[in-house]
């Protein structure tokens, strides 16, 4: 295929098929990210820094669009790709090691997980109860930001940053959990109007970030988006 990167669709950018599973997208992205990172000899030997950055950003954009089911569906529609068969995509999601869809912190399961985590921390497991297997790694389900939006407050980039810092989490961790690139997380927190993606993607990202931080996701996404829209109209 002899086509510029900017003219390739997101599947071509990541070099995956149109029916690629989330794992395939994930691993293609990790490969490409390694190759086009700032430190990578293979790309800096031939690309100028702006060229390398453009490539890197295009790959990140492709990944962010395709890894989230909703934005991928919309993107597929825009390309005119017929809907993927639900069975395949469900199987693919189930096989995925890190959950793509984090359950809401208000979910009863999570409350259990929370209390379990705290009792484990104190070393005071209820006697007689079977010992649950320890979680393999800290999961987003255990996080619940001490900060919450008031009734009339809107979610700002700064609020998201404070909520994150209140949990002692860095961008890399959020990125790992949400599969949103670190630079995109930064743009969202900094409200970089020139860098933010189209509303549909932005909504998805803020939903995921809020879910990860244990915030009211619907409210965060709705108010953050309306704020950005307002700022853009003034800009």
């Amino acid at each position: 295929m002899f086509r510029r990167l900017s003219e390739q669709d997101f599947y071509q950018v990541l070099e995956v098929g149109y029916d690629a599973s989330p794992e395939e997208i994930q691993s293609a992205y990790e490969d490409a990210r390694e190759i086009f990172s700032r430190e990578a000899l293979v790309s800096v030997s031939i690309l100028s820094e702006p060229e390398r950055r453009r490539t890197y950003e295009r790959i990140a954009e492709a990944y962010q669009t395709l890894i989230a089911e909703e934005s991928r569906r919309l993107y597929d529609e825009s390309l005119g790709i017929p809907r993927r068969s639900p069975s395949r995509s469900r199987v693919a999601v189930e096989r995925h090691e890190t959950p793509l869809v984090l359950s809401s912190p208000l979910n009863p399961l999570d409350t259990e997980a929370l209390s379990q985590a705290s009792s484990e921390a104190e070393g005071a497991l209820p006697s007689g109860a079977p010992t649950p297997p320890p979680p393999e790694k800290p999961s987003a389900e255990l996080w619940r930001s001490p900060l919450q939006l008031g009734l009339t407050e809107e979610a700002t980039g700064e609020f998201l940053r404070l909520a994150r810092e209140a949990l002692g989490l860095d961008l890399a961790t959020i990125s790992e959990e949400t599969k949103i690139g670190c630079s995109m997380l930064e743009y969202i927190e900094a409200e970089r109007l020139d860098r933010l993606p189209a509303p549909i993607y932005l909504k998805n990202f803020t939903l995921q970030i809020a879910r990860c931080l244990g915030l009211d996701e619907e409210k965060v996404a709705r108010t953050y988006l309306s704020r950005i829209r307002r700022l853009q109209s003034h800009a």
Partner: protein, 365 residues
């Protein structure tokens, strides 16, 4: 490579890595061998095809690298020995005009007759300059040492030389190409039917390999345009600091299309024909093995060219030991880590098939 060459070969698809074990699989499907002590014994040779002859296509393979000291001569001589041991009739040609030393890698003294004698018509037939190497089935055409005749050949002289070389009666002809990116070097690389580019995991080698790829790609396009007015655009593009703003092959194709849409379409087809393969040499760490895969990803995205990796060869002290003794490495250390990897590359050559025409068309659309 012509499918004929594959005749009589059993189970070509089970991947040579099965014989050698090891968890790392390179882009070519062959595992790099970094530690020979844990690898099983060498496998049986691949039997030669029943039909043989000089008219076979895809049997001229050029080994280049853009940079000196990356192991081109070692790779060429080792592949030659390996392929000869599989029963193929092989001739290795030292096309490093001006800096020939392939004979040393084969443990030979400077042969009496060289390419110079043929170029200057001191001998009538190219067969007259083929020297025996002491290895059954393996002949050597030694390079010209006399710099003036060799390095300043005209394009038609190179074409003539190549056409004579291609008439040599052999199953496989390996060309050891010199360092650099001048047309002299690049043309030999392009005139062969398959190209292998040797690269080592060092910044200067990677940089030169890219330059070599870009220059030979442009030269390939230039050659295919023949007398078209669009040729001028390609010439401008070859000047890296050109004033017309052509930085990548994509820019070039657009510039050509603006002048002449038909030439643009033609060049896009020609672009797909350029498919050299990368061989990563002197791998010291498992992650270096991925260099071939990574470089080909960069080439696809930035240059629009599709190059595959043909394998990776580990850094190996025994190469140095063989060289020091002036002994052919592949004869003395076939069981070493590097020897096993080179054997796998030789097998990849024997198994390789030309991309089917249908697949080519699908890619073009």
């Amino acid at each position: 490579m012509d499918s004929e060459l594959k005749e009589g070969v059993d189970a070509p698809d089970n991947g040579s890595s099965l014989w050698f074990g090891g968890p790392e699989i390179s882009a070519a499907g062959a595992a790099v061998v970094l530690d020979a002590s844990i690898a099983p014994p060498l496998p049986a040779p691949i039997p030669a095809p029943a039909s043989r002859g000089a008219r076979r296509k895809g049997r001229i393979i050029a080994v280049g690298g853009g940079k000196g000291g990356v192991g081109k001569s070692l790779v060429t001589s080792s592949l030659g020995i390996s392929l000869a041991r599989h029963g193929r009739k092989v001739v290795v040609v030292d096309a490093d005009l001006g800096g020939a030393n392939l004979h040393t890698c084969l443990g030979l003294n400077s042969p009496e007759r060289t390419l110079s004698d043929f170029i200057n018509r001191r001998v009538a037939r190219i067969e007259d300059v083929i020297a025996e190497t002491g290895v059954a089935n393996l002949g050597l055409i030694s390079g010209a040492h006399d710099h003036l005749t060799a390095s300043n050949m005209k394009y038609f002289q190179k074409t003539r030389l190549l056409s004579r070389i291609s008439q040599v009666d052999a199953d496989i002809i390996l060309l050891d190409i010199g360092a650099g990116i001048s047309f002299n070097i690049v043309d030999f690389f392009l005139l062969a039917e398959q190209g292998i580019l040797v690269v080592i995991p060092e910044p200067s080698s990677i940089e030169n390999a890219y330059r070599f790829l870009k220059m030979s790609f442009y030269r390939h396009l230039w050659r295919s345009l023949k007398a078209s007015p669009a040729r001028k655009v390609v010439e401008e593009a070859m000047d890296q600091k050109n004033q017309v703003g052509i930085r990548t092959p994509f820019d070039l194709l657009e510039a050509v299309e603006r002048i002449d849409a038909a030439s643009g379409r033609f060049l896009k087809e020609k672009a797909l024909e350029f498919r050299p393969r990368l061989l990563v040499n002197q791998v010291r760490y498992p992650e270096d093995e991925r260099l071939g895969h990574s470089m080909s990803a960069v080439c696809r995205k930035h240059l629009g060219i599709d190059i595959d990796s043909i394998g990776a060869v580990g850094f190996d002290e025994s190469v140095w030991r063989a060289n020091r003794k002036k002994r052919p490495f592949m004869l003395d250390f076939p069981d070493s880590a590097a020897g096993r990897s080179l054997e796998q590359v030789a097998r990849a050559i024997l198994y390789a098939k030309a991309p089917p025409a249908a697949a080519k068309e699908a890619r073009a659309s």
